[in-house]
Amino acid sequence: MLHIVNKSAAERSSLESCLRMATKGSAVLLIEDAVYAATNGNAAAAKIQAAAADLKIYALGPDLAARGMAGRVLDGVNVVDYGGFVDLVAEHSNCQSWL
């Protein structure tokens, strides 16, 4: 399953809920304000790094760049472009957007 999160972990609980529900081997794609969680020094970074042991974590590159965060991505997080976003959706049988 592909989980998609788009809200900042500092504002909403959607990332936390997602990580609680995501089963081993699932993919989590961070887009829009959710990408901050995947950057060095962010309060949510430890959660992402812990989750990366069982989940594949992706972050959308254009959203990172638009926030000045392209150079601060955590190790273990895969940066994808819009084409990669489409591939992730196509590769997984289902997806859940955590609104």
Binding site: N6, K7, S8, A10, E11, E32, D33, Y36, T39, N40, G41, N42, A43, A45, G61, P62, D63, A65, A66, R67, G68, M69, A70, G71, R72, D81
Partner: protein, 131 residues
Amino acid sequence: MSDMDEMDDGSGIIKKFMFLNRKAPHGTVYALEGLEVVLITAAFDQDVSLVFTDDGVFQLMKGIDTKGIEVKDFSKTYRALEGYDIEKLYVDQASMDARGLTEDDLIVDVTVLSVDEMANLMAEQDVVISF
């Protein structure tokens, strides 16, 4: 004429305005709209303080490149605020720490305040407008 008199009476009053920015720049329209309102307020010669806390500190990041998401990059506008006599920019130390940021990461010169200092600054305002 009485309406005009009232306007004249009020024209010289300078109030302390705080614009409190708590949202990241592109996920919502708050940051851009807040900046527009600040620029409008500058035309009225008020005592303006611009404050960035929580995800709002992300508005001031250096190196923003919005080409990929095809939205306006308004981050350079923060550097123009000085030209509008808006020179009091503050960030919250705790918000910076929780995001791994230092002053060097920001596009403009700011004053970094502790929670207590920020609370006092807020308490002394005539008007606080939140975005």
